[in-house]
Structure formats: C-alpha cells, structure tokens
C-alpha cells in the first residue's frame, strides 16, 4: 500500500486547528468553546505524531510529546469545566457572551 504523504496530515491538522479556533471564537456555549480548544490542541498532536513518523528525521519524541500534551489538555479541560461550574452556580448560565461584568 502507498504511504499517505506527510502533507496530508499537516493539512488535516491545520484544518482541524482552524475549525477549533473558529469554534472557540464564535460559539456562545462555553462547553463547546472548551471542546474547540481541545480540538486545537489535538491538531497539534496530529502534527507531532505525523512528524514523528514521517518527519525529516523521524523520532519517537513526537509521540512522547503528544502523550504529554494530551494529558495536559485533559487537565486544562477539567479545570476549565470546574471553573465553569462555579460560574454557573452564580450566574445560572453557560453563555460566554454573558460573562462581561469585567470590561473597559
């Protein structure tokens, strides 16, 4: 079977990153925003894995890196959600555009 070229992965990652960014910047629901951020991080992970297999000088480090970043992403998400919970208790909403008491 023929190898999928590196460029394909990179494009995929880039697309994924952009989708994530788009979601993070447009969605009203904070949960979805957090998920979109996960998407962006995962896009990076795809890069790492792809590079570690098909990069200029393939090495295992990339996969290690991606493992770490997955964990970190999880932790970040957890913290994010926890904070969202606290906020939800006070404001009874998860709409991100209603969090604007601090401004100017």
């Amino acid at each position: 079977m023929t190898e999928v070229p590196l460029s394909a992965y990179l494009v995929l990652a880039l697309v994924l990153f952009c989708i994530g960014l788009y979601g993070a910047l447009t969605k009203r629901n904070t949960v979805i925003v957090l998920i979109s951020i996960e998407l962006m991080l995962n896009a990076a992970n795809i890069n790492f894995v792809a590079f570690s297999r098909l990069g200029v000088t393939p090495s295992i480090t990339g996969q290690v890196f991606s493992l770490f970043s997955i964990t970190i992403a999880a932790a970040e998400a957890a913290v994010g959600l926890a904070i969202l919970m606290a906020l939800y208790r006070r404001k009874k909403t998860v709409n991100i555009d209603e969090m604007d008491t601090l401004k100017h």
Binding site: A24, F48, G80, I83
Partner: protein, 504 residues
C-alpha cells in the same frame, strides 16, 4: 538507561525544585489532616519557609557548573539560576501578601489550596526557566498556567473572580494551542525537542524553504508565549483577569508569571533562533532581519498599555495596563537584543526592579483596600494624612514605575535605552515611542500621587498594617531606592554569578 546512570546525575542541582515540591506535598497533607480549628494561614508561613529554603539552596548551588539532567530536560545554567532567583524572591513576597489576604467572605471557603497552588505555579515557573527540552518547558508552562487559572478563580462565590478565571482559561487555552502548534512545526522541521540539538540543526539549515517555515513557527511560538507576558495584542485578557482575581494572585500574575513568561521566551526563541540565517545567503541573522516585527509588537504594546491606562479608575485594572506597558518596554530590549551588550542583564535587572516596585505597590493596595471590596483610585485619597509611611512607600514605588531617576525603574529603563542605541542603526523610532509613552504614563502615575499626597480625604481611618506586609513594603521600598542609587549591587552580583550567560 539503568539505575546507575540515573544515580550518577547531579540531582543536587534540582534541590530548589525538590524543596518546593516537598513543601507543596507537605502543605497538601497538612491541609488534609489538620483539624479545622487550626488556622490555615499558618500554611502560608510554612510555604514561605519552604520558598526561603529553596532560595538558600539556590544560593548554595550558584557556584556549581552547568548541570544537565536527563539529556537537558532539566539544565541548571546561569540563565536558570538568575531567573529562578527572581521567581523565588517574587513568590516569597507574594506568599507574604497571600498570608494577610482577607476577602470579604473570609478565607473559610478556599482553605489551604490558596497557598500551595502558589507553590505549584512557582514550581512550573522554575521548570520553565531551567529546561533545555521543549517537552519539559511545555509542561512547566502548563503547570504554571493551570495553577494560576485556579488561583484566579479561587474565590468560588465571587462572580468577578469566577469570570476572570473563566476568561483566563479560555484565552490561555487558545494561546497554549497556538504555542503547541508552533512547537509541533519546530519539532517537525528538526526532528528533536532538545533545544541544543534543534539549534544545531537549525543553524546549519540553508534551504530558504525551511528558513521560511522556521519563521512561521517562530511567530506561532512567540504569539503563544506572548500571552503570558501580556503584550499587545495578546494582552486583552490581562485587565479583566487582574481585576477579577484576588490581589495576591494579581500580584503573582504581574510579577512571577510574567517573569517566567519572559524566561521561556528567551530560552526557546533565543537558543533556537540566535544563529539561524535571516536571509538566503546568511548575511543577516534571523533576529536582525525580523526584529522589525518584535519592535512593532513592542511599540503597540507600549502605546496601548499607557494610553488605555489613562481611562482606568480601578487600581488593579490600572496596574494591569501599567504591567502591559512594562512588558512593552521589555520587548524593546528583546527587539534590540540589548544591542548585543546588554541583553540578559537588562532583562534581569528590569524584572528585578519591576518585582520590587510592583509588589510594593500591590502590598499597599491590599492593605488600604483591606477587606472592603473597593479598588478605585479614590481609595488612596489623602493616604498621606492617614498613614504617611504607606503613602510614601506607595509614592516611591509609583515613581519607580514611572522611571524617575534615583529609583530602580530608571536604571532599568536606561539599560533598555542603551541597548536600543548601542547598535547602528539604532532603534530610534522605538526609543522615541518608549520615551513618549513614558511621558504619557506620568499622567496616570502622578494621578495616583496626586490622590496620595495632594488631596485630603474624608475618611480618617488608619489602615492597620500586618507585620508581614510591613516587612514586605519596607524591603520593596528599600530595594527600589537602593538599586536606583547603587544599581551595581545588583548588576555586579549578576555579572559575578551569571557572567554573560555564555553557557546559555
């Protein structure tokens, strides 16, 4: 690798980190097992002791040569030592602040974690300063970030605090993603995450295609990390978070976290890009040909920071903008690379000065606002009558922030200017912007001074000053003046123990 090699490593080089880690664990356990009637404040003292111990141990390890553990995933070089020192001192002060911090609803809710989260964040920061591997750097970064997310939202039942934390998480997440994405490209282009190895590969690259991609990666990483130092246009989270977070956290963000941010930027970008070709034939270095971008960022950062600060009535928000402005000044040093003579000492001294003057100011703010929620500038009105000592201390810190001669802030600015002009052609426009915005900054800094000294207040209640804060303020003011009048105490120390950071 086998156990033997593991044991052969110079673990003593990591003692400061270990101490912090140990303290953290200890605090966690104490927090867990202490009966509720014991005040959790004491944890702060223990934490402080831990920090001081690790500071001592750092001084102890100062003389030893460069140590690299686990193939550079931890390295203790002069750079690391220098910045760790700043971080530890800053953290110690912040801990003092935290100890006497008393929000309206009291500290019942957030018990111990308030104190030891500072330590975890500190640990992350320290890792950021002393690692030669992207992975560990990234982990350190995230450790710092995540801890500070929680710290920002530590006041569960305070809307502003929650909101601040939420905003912090989201914008932090985005920038993390960008950073990571950039790193992934760096890895892809070099096939390694070890900075040394990467830089060797990069400096040998002559293929313009690759150079081009290096550039893209550079910007991604820069932008992602600029989030930490809150430089425009990646600063917008800062005012909100600073305003919403509890004062000690704000102080922490504006001093420790910012220092760490600069540390990691220098660490990654300098060690990778210093010798990369800036054009097809290698006539210019990468920084020579791209400093214009950093200069641009620095320029708008200074302008936005100072100009928008004019509009602020909330002190914490005001200081957010002022710290943005200061990030801008430091970026000038980064853009000019300190005119090749004054790079690291400029950064180091500036951050040192900034640490003292900023923390001094925050301490006073915290004391004066007490457990009332008011944070407006007017709360300082006529402080001179109520408590001359605090007023003078605040005044000196402000003057230093404004960069008036005789204070550390001035010397710091001078060395930035030196960097900007020592090269040919000098960065005249950038320097002009810096000078101009400094003058603009006089307006709001002296606005505070006017409140402190020139106006007289209605309320005559003397703010009660805890011993810890008194010490803190005293030290800060003393240092601000001392380093203003005899900066070589600090500079010589730097040059003796860290040299020109050639082992960087």
């Amino acid at each position: 690798m086998d156990l033997q090699t593991m044991l052969n490593y110079h673990w003593e080089a990591m003692i400061p980190e270990f101490i912090i880690l140990g303290t953290t664990v200890l605090l966690t356990l104490l927090d867990l097992f202490w009966p509720p009637y014991i005040k959790r404040r004491r944890l702060a003292w223990i934490g402080l002791i831990g920090i001081l111990l690790s500071l001592l141990s750092l001084l102890a390890v100062l003389p030893i040569e460069v140590v690299s553990i686990l193939d550079d995933s931890f390295r203790l070089d002069s750079f690391a030592k220098a910045f760790k020192m700043l971080l530890l001192v800053g953290a110690a002060f912040v801990m003092l602040l935290a100890e006497s911090y008393e929000p309206k609803e009291g500290m019942k809710e957030q018990r111990g974690e308030f104190y030891y989260l500072f330590l975890t964040a500190l640990l992350g920061a320290m890792i950021m300063t002393s690692s030669g591997d992207l992975i560990t750097l990234f982990i350190g970064l995230e450790l710092l970030s995540i801890s500070s997310y929680i710290l920002a939202g530590i006041r569960k039942h305070h809307t502003a605090s929650n909101e601040a934390a939420m905003k912090y998480v989201i914008s932090g997440g985005i920038s993390t993603a960008i950073t990571l994405f950039g790193m992934s490209y760096l890895y892809g282009l070099t096939g390694s995450t070890n900075l040394k190895a990467m830089s060797i590969i990069m400096k040998e690259t002559v293929d313009t295609q690759f150079l081009y991609l290096f550039g893209l990666a550079f910007f991604m990483v820069l932008v992602g990390l600029s989030f930490k130092i809150a430089s425009a246009p990646f600063h917008m989270w800062a005012p909100d978070v600073y305003q919403g977070a509890p004062i000690p956290v704000t102080a922490f963000l504006s001093v420790v976290s910012k220092t760490a941010g600069f540390a990691i930027i220098l660490r990654i970008l300098l060690s990778l890009y210093r010798e990369v070709w800036g054009d097809a034939v290698g006539a210019f270095s990468f920084f020579e040909s791209n400093s214009i971008y950093i200069a641009f960022l620095a320029g708008i950062t200074m302008i936005i920071g100072n100009v928008v600060a004019l509009r602020q009535r909330n002190l914490k928000r005001l200081f957010a903008y002022s710290s943005i402005a200061h990030a801008g000044y430091l970026l000038v040093a980064f853009a000019t690379l300190g005119g090749q003579y004054f790079l690291f000492d400029t950064f180091w001294f500036y951050l040192l000065a900034y640490l003292f003057m900023n923390l001094g100011a925050f301490a006073v703010i915290q004391v004066v606002s007490g457990n009332t929620e008011q944070e407006g500038i007017d709360m300082l009105t006529g402080l001179y009558q109520r408590s001359p000592w605090l007023a003078v201390a605040m005044g000196i810190s402000i003057l230093s922030l404004a960069g008036i001669p005789g204070t550390a802030g001035f010397i710091a600015k001078v060395s930035i200017f030196l960097g900007a002009f020592a090269v040919d052609p000098g960065f005249y426009v950038l320097a002009a912007i810096m000078a101009g915005t400094t003058v603009i900054s006089y307006i709001y800094y002296f606005g505070i001074l006017v409140q402190l000294f020139l106006r007289s207040s209605i309320i005559q209640t003397k703010p009660k000053v805890p011993a810890g804060i008194n010490i803190l303020v005293a030290v800060c003011v003393l240092m601000t003046i001392l380093f203003g009048l005899a900066p070589n105490i600090a500079l010589d120390f730097f040059h003796q123990h860290f040299g020109d950071l050639l082992d960087f």
